[in-house]
Symmetry: C4
Subunit: 286 residues, 4 copies
Amino acid sequence: MEKLTDQILHEVIQPRPANSFKGTFGKVTLVGGNRNFGGAIIMASTAAVCAGAGLVTTATAASNSGALHAQLPEAMFADFTADQQLADLVRAATTVVVGPGLGDDAQSLHILKNVFNHVRPEQNLVIDGSAITLMAREELSAPAANVIYTPHEMEWQRLSGIKIGEQTEARNRAVRDQLNATVVLKKHHTEIYTADQVYQLTIGSPAQAVGGMGDTLAGMVGGFTAEFNDQPQKAVLAAVYAHSAIADQIAESQYIVLPHQISRALPAFMKKMEQDPNEHQIGFLS
Amino acid sequence: MEKLTDQILHEVIQPRPANSFKGTFGKVTLVGGNRNFGGAIIMASTAAVCAGAGLVTTATAASNSGALHAQLPEAMFADFTADQQLADLVRAATTVVVGPGLGDDAQSLHILKNVFNHVRPEQNLVIDGSAITLMAREELSAPAANVIYTPHEMEWQRLSGIKIGEQTEARNRAVRDQLNATVVLKKHHTEIYTADQVYQLTIGSPAQAVGGMGDTLAGMVGGFTAEFNDQPQKAVLAAVYAHSAIADQIAESQYIVLPHQISRALPAFMKKMEQDPNEHQIGFLS
Amino acid sequence: MEKLTDQILHEVIQPRPANSFKGTFGKVTLVGGNRNFGGAIIMASTAAVCAGAGLVTTATAASNSGALHAQLPEAMFADFTADQQLADLVRAATTVVVGPGLGDDAQSLHILKNVFNHVRPEQNLVIDGSAITLMAREELSAPAANVIYTPHEMEWQRLSGIKIGEQTEARNRAVRDQLNATVVLKKHHTEIYTADQVYQLTIGSPAQAVGGMGDTLAGMVGGFTAEFNDQPQKAVLAAVYAHSAIADQIAESQYIVLPHQISRALPAFMKKMEQDPNEHQIGFLS
Amino acid sequence: MEKLTDQILHEVIQPRPANSFKGTFGKVTLVGGNRNFGGAIIMASTAAVCAGAGLVTTATAASNSGALHAQLPEAMFADFTADQQLADLVRAATTVVVGPGLGDDAQSLHILKNVFNHVRPEQNLVIDGSAITLMAREELSAPAANVIYTPHEMEWQRLSGIKIGEQTEARNRAVRDQLNATVVLKKHHTEIYTADQVYQLTIGSPAQAVGGMGDTLAGMVGGFTAEFNDQPQKAVLAAVYAHSAIADQIAESQYIVLPHQISRALPAFMKKMEQDPNEHQIGFLS
């Protein structure tokens, strides 16, 4: 298992080309947030916007539209029950993120299938939260795409069939090979399983143990893979590392880290990473 | 009567264990906020989230869903008139907070009874505001649970039958013994009645005399009892103390303290308490 | 004409008594904000809350409920078309503010009459914006109360019959005497007409010439008269002076002042006024 | 082609006259934001308010009303499907901005025609985003007015018929002459075509390549032309320059610039420009 370092940030977060426009940095379509869990998709969308994705659309329950725009006018809204519109948005995306706050009822399943039916092989597809639970329960397969799963240990148990406590590197790799996907296994010392390698995160803290932290990570993975789409594998690693690196800096002065604080800190953090690889140890918040 | 000191904060607010996850820090279900008083339950929920509870769900009127997510995407939403869903959320909680902005009409009463019917003995149940008024008026008893009442003097008069001005320590203790609950009697120099002891708060200021201050306290008691559930009695004391300690620091530079400012200051305040018991006199806001 | 000085702030803004509670600082009911002008009543309500009124209720169009709570959870909401509920809220108030964003259609008139029908002589009644226009057009009289009008010059022309350009001190006094009210005539060097005296404001700047500035002043007058109800006349003067004093400090570094910035600066500004009459020249924002 | 410099800011942004009121600084009516793209018109409106326009009204889909007021209570709301009300608001405006988030369906077209039918020759009309696309597709002509188009290169291709890559100064000038309008062609080194001259912007950065940046520019052009209506041509140039000048300062410490950050920085930036032409190189954010 290879330990991730901040080197990954410097490899991925490069100065933007002078002659670029928002289309250069990809489109993210995020799908989730039923009537009860609207905050989850809002937090994921905030992460995608603040990470610098070019265009972000949030497909969610109609009742979340007002709160989405109140929090994040930069994101566009779609009703996730409008099948044709959602299909179009999925097809148009560089990266699709499905799952944050999606829920696990019949409507959730219908939406998940709609997403899966319209993903194309060249796209990135981040599958998070209840989307993972639904796949396991309904024995759904992911479509052909660059698939990234972001389960916590219980969700991984459901998807992989490997019980918590028995999730060894070898077993996890075996299931990952079957899935042919990237797996970000969220836990104390998160592990990232790719085709070639297993990486371990050695930063992060219990100050991150609050609701919404995973939704934010899913949104960041969505934003990074769209924006840095020429190296989507490294983009995943950089997103995972940045998420905890920012949290660690905030946790120096806070007992807990609120998820949206990580997103809002992204623009300044990413600037530091772009600028000066030798000074990144110095707190970006100061 | 024993005077509370900041010692209680250091006893309760300890560094989080490295290998913890959001489930470690409990679930809070807050019930309140009718069509008119939505702000009350939003403020209480903000306090619970910022205190560091692992998962927070807000059961309120449907018309408050948008404002809740706009203020606090970290909280989940439930319609408090969905009886079965509310019952499930009550059963799943470490701590239930009922009352902020609940109102006192027939719908309020129906919801309160639904909550009481599904609380289990091992849970913490914080009863605040109009829930207290309803109990007194309807002669409802609280269910078996670790019950914490947070009345102001008029609500205590209604619940205890002891008139303001006659609420002596001895009388209050007698009623508390009948109720077999913790009573946080909010007043100038708030008193906390427990089974063993009566505590008095000697901090706090008239800058706190604004609407929503009590809703915030109820949410903090909810958050602390869920997060520090191994010592729920001390968690109540710590929440009450922290609420006024933060307010006092804000009041050094403000004529009034807005309730949400206390909640938003919690993560930094709690870090100071965790870190360095000898330096807590120094303002955490600086 | 007597020039107002910051002396009025020190006379009115005194340290709060230690043994006080939110009821000590009065109740404000604000009525306005139709479907189109919701922002006006939200800004007025924000001013009343930040000024330190004990309890603030906003009676407005139902469509504004979400934005109100998203901006200002400290305020309670009422549907201003619910006649009985509005009547009750008017009767319960220390100060009623009517007009910001009320509009001037049939619904607006119905609501205004409902307010006027339930005001009591011992209450403060702030009449602002379209409520003044409606009174002039419909030849409505204000009810017996401590009435404070806050017209700009065009609204004063409508109410008084004195054309802009002919609004001399003597003529304004004569109409004021007929109205038996306080008149805050908003203009370059705002004038305040009371029973005994005419005051002139010599501070303020064109950075305040933006929409919502008057709504914020009306809310501040509402908050101050409720909170400092033992000297409501001086409370009006203090509110008017504080509004421009804060704006002047903000305008030192801003081309325009956004109205809500004044409200949000109130708690710190009022603390400075309470604390140290000899140091108030020093910017409270530093 | 003449390079724009910050000289244009000092020419346009002058100290406000002491005896001015909100009417002095013009009225802006912004039209856009369908059910899916509400954030666009909210961002444009925020820019118009923060630029200092006297009164700002946002005509948009009813579902955006709550988010508008939650973000920006200073703006008034109108339902853009209320034909008569929209016509009145268009007629009353100093500047009309149409297009941000308007969409391109039948409803969008109906609204656009309604706007065009009620614009008067002496008004400023900013045509942005999907309004440009609709004009090209439907072969609509703009009404007689001081028209300002703010297309990006693809929108300009649609409107002018000149393909991207062939959009030379001479060709663009020729089409501009036919249109008899100002054209702000947004691209790397934005070009502004006026009747007399072509200007080039040499500032700005790829940190601006995020969704909503153009909506914010359209709103700023709206605000500046209303506020500085005695020199509307220079007001356009100043808005374009200020937009990127602020972004460049933010981009010194951020990898991307969020559009609303530019708007929120406007009051302080404009103060610096007004005050001291020799010190504007120094960062206004410090």
